[in-house]
């Protein structure tokens, strides 16, 4: 079935020495002209790093000709000193090979010191491949990025399910690459700048010689991100008495998802695909907010991997309080409205950020 000659290891060697490197690059991930939130967040953080190092912040936008331009304007408004735009039909949708080829060529040509990517499925797919192509270091899912005394990028990461924190550097290789999960850094405010368009520079790459390897047959994007990868899960139990609207508003505000206990699902208040627990979905969000959930082990099994568990229940004896980091004894219909108000006034971005079309 397989070709006669099995694949062999190809050693390419370093792209360029670190002392020749300059510039903070952010790969701006866009789909159909809509820029990912995480890319905006990285431009904000990239601005900080650029100021610390007194180096330019460069945004790189890859996409179909008609879409890349939209993303480029966004990036310019978000503070990039320069926006490199590659509009190419082969880049219309994310695919590992053309995206790796394009970034590889730009990086080798311009020699950035730092390259940041969002830790989305596509971002991780690209970063993992590109780092080996460039023979350089890559850190994953950083919780913070700082500049050390010698000007090195310090990637703050956690491992072992969050139990161990480490700082990782990449001294002998360039660029220093890092991925960051969505929601870690705040989004910078967009500003209208008179010379924004002057900072957008089309760049060309050679993608025609590369044989297309993987073919995208079909791509479907739903409105919802899915329970298992949501950073916040708001869970409703019997205490909601079937009224999930405050829970939905809370999930929406925090870019999270709504889940439910078995009892709530049994009552038909919400679909079976939302059930969390032993016989439902096991979630590992950063925050689980359980509202009117008593805490049968059926449920707690499903959220034991959450970083932080908040329980709101009018019954002070609810077993879930034993499995929670923070507990509020009170009626969820009284506790949630001021919380929503607080979150909305404090983080206008989270509420008003453009949502991708379904």
């Amino acid at each position: 079935m397989t070709s006669a000659t099995p694949p062999t290891v190809v050693v390419r060697g370093p792209a360029y020495p670190p002392h020749e490197a300059a510039g903070i690059w952010v790969w701006v991930e866009q789909h159909d002209g809509v820029v990912e939130d995480v890319s905006r967040e990285l431009l904000g953080k990239g601005r900080d790093l650029a100021s610390r190092l007194a180096q330019p912040l460069v945004a790189v936008v890859l996409g179909a000709p008609q879409h890349a331009g939209v993303g480029a304007a966004d990036a310019a408004a978000l503070g990039a000193d320069e926006v490199l735009v590659v509009g190419h039909a082969a880049l219309a949708h994310y695919a590992t090979d053309p995206y790796t080829d394009a970034l590889d060529q730009l990086v080798r040509r311009r020699k950035p010191a730092i390259l940041l990517l969002g830790a989305t499925p596509d971002g991780r797919d690209l970063a993992g491949r590109l780092a080996v192509r460039l023979y350089t270091g890559l850190t994953a899912d950083c919780t913070d990025l700082t500049i050390g005394p010698s000007g090195l990028l310090e990637s703050h990461v956690v491992g072992f399910g969050g139990g161990i924190a480490a700082i990782i550097t990449c001294q002998r290789h360039a660029p220093q690459m890092a991925t960051v999960r969505p929601g870690v850094f705040p989004q910078p405010a967009a500003t209208v700048r008179s010379n924004a368009s002057e900072r957008i520079r089309p760049a060309s790459v050679d993608l025609d010689s590369a044989a297309e390897r993987v073919r995208v047959l079909e791509r479907q994007v739903h409105a919802e991100a899915g329970l298992t990868r949501a950073p916040v899960v708001v869970i409703g139990g019997a205490g909601t008495r079937g009224d999930f609207h405050l829970l939905e508003a809370l999930a929406e505000t925090l870019d999270g998802e709504v889940g439910a206990t078995r009892v709530a699902v049994d009552q038909g208040w919400i679909g079976r695909d939302r059930q969390i627990g032993q016989t439902g979905v096991v979630v590992r969000p950063k925050v689980a907010i359980a509202c009117g959930v008593s805490g049968a082990s059926q449920l707690t099994v499903g959220i034991s991997g959450a970083d932080t568990v908040i329980a709101i229940n009018s019954d002070a004896g609810a077993p879930l309080f034993d499995a929670a980091d923070y507990g509020v004894v009170g009626d969820l219909f009284r506790v949630l409205p001021p919380l929503l108000a607080e979150l909305r006034t404090d983080q206008p971005k989270a509420v008003t950020a453009e949502r991708r079309p379904a």
């Binding site: 397989t2 070709s3 694949p7 290891v9 190809v10 994310y94 590992t96 090979d97 989305t120 596509d122 797919d125 690209l126 970063a127 993992g128 491949r129 780092a131 080996v132 192509r133 023979y135 270091g137 890559l138 850190t139 994953a140 072992f160 969050g162 139990g163 924190a165 480490a166 700082i167 990782i168 290789h173 929601g183 870690v184 850094f185 390897r213 047959l217 079909e218 791509r219 479907q220 994007v221 739903h222 991100a225 916040v232 950063k286 925050v287 970083d307 932080t308 568990v309 908040i310 980091d325 923070y326 507990g327 509020v328 004894v329 009170g330 409205p337 607080e342 979150l343 404090d346 991708r356």
Partner: protein, 269 residues
């Protein structure tokens, strides 16, 4: 179809602590398990073999204590197992790890015949980088598909390619992947089958082939600490294992402010 599955053993994440004196990771108390995402890669491999026939080979890089976990994979149904084990492989980052595994794959093809597809878990529960599968694909200069949730045999004998379903942010895509290729399997893509106790007895005495750096002709400059591009500058315990059990009381507005702070802090952690 000849399938290779890359697996590793990991300490149970919640049981790894820090030795406060040496400031190194303390895994002594931790029970280990097969990296949970790798279990889904194993199941996908077995299910594929059940449908189209072929073999499932296990490949791992790690200390000799990995052998029992490879035997567990054999008890689940794998045909053979290889362990890349050498002190020189130690302290490898994902660059050096993916190189080493790629060299192991090269050697497997040379000695046991060419393989068609390499399956990996989407990430490991300890490092959680998800970088090794694309890294292996790049070292071998072959196609990759990450976060694969389903695999369908492609056009079979005439066109060496398979069709896969891949999870993307907020959706999924269908890809046609020419073989040989590296696939990373999405966590939760399937339910890993339990091992067969009868096979387990046989697996206990089955041979696990152990190769050192020389056996896979690995360049000493590209493996272990020497071949790693990143350095761990500092490690500390972020260690919060127990829930805090903090009860908030007071007027609703005050509680709301505290909760909002807790949520924001948790999201940026």
């Amino acid at each position: 179809m000849r399938i290779v599955v890359c697996v590793k053993a990991v300490p149970k994440p919640e049981e790894v602590g820090m030795n406060p004196e040496t400031r190194t990771l303390d895994r002594s108390k931790a029970r280990s398990e097969i990296n949970p995402p790798d279990m889904h890669a194993l199941e996908m491999a077995f299910a594929l073999r059940d449908r189209v026939g072929g073999t499932v080979t296990l490949l791992s890089m790690g200390p000799p204590m990995f052998v029992p976990y490879l035997r567990l994979g054999l008890a689940m149904g794998a045909d053979d197992a290889y362990l890349l084990s050498d002190r020189a492989f130690g302290a490898a980052d994902t660059l050096a790890t993916s190189y080493t595994l790629a060299k192991g794959l090269e050697r497997i093809a040379a000695t046991a015949g060419p393989w068609d597809v390499v399956l990996c878990g989407e990430e490991s529960s300890d490092g959680a980088t998800a970088q090794v599968p694309p890294g292996i694909a790049e070292w071998l200069d072959i196609p990759q598909a990450t976060y694969v949730s389903e695999i369908a045999p492609g056009d079979g004998q005439t066109a060496p390619a398979i069709e896969v379903r891949r999870e993307i942010k907020g959706g999924e895509e269908r890809l046609r992947v020419p073989l040989p290729a590296v696939l990373s399997v999405a966590a939760g893509a399937n339910v890993p089958r339990f091992f067969d106790p009868d096979r387990r007895a046989i697996a206990e005495s089955a041979e696990v082939v152990v190769w050192d750096a020389a056996a896979v002709a690995a360049d000493p400059a590209l493996i272990g600490a020497a071949g790693s591009a990143t350095t761990v500058a500092a490690v500390e315990s972020a260690g919060r294992v127990e829930r805090r059990h903090e009860m908030l009381s007071g007027p609703p507005e005050e509680t709301a402010r505290t909760l909002a702070g807790v949520i924001r802090a948790a999201l940026s952690a």
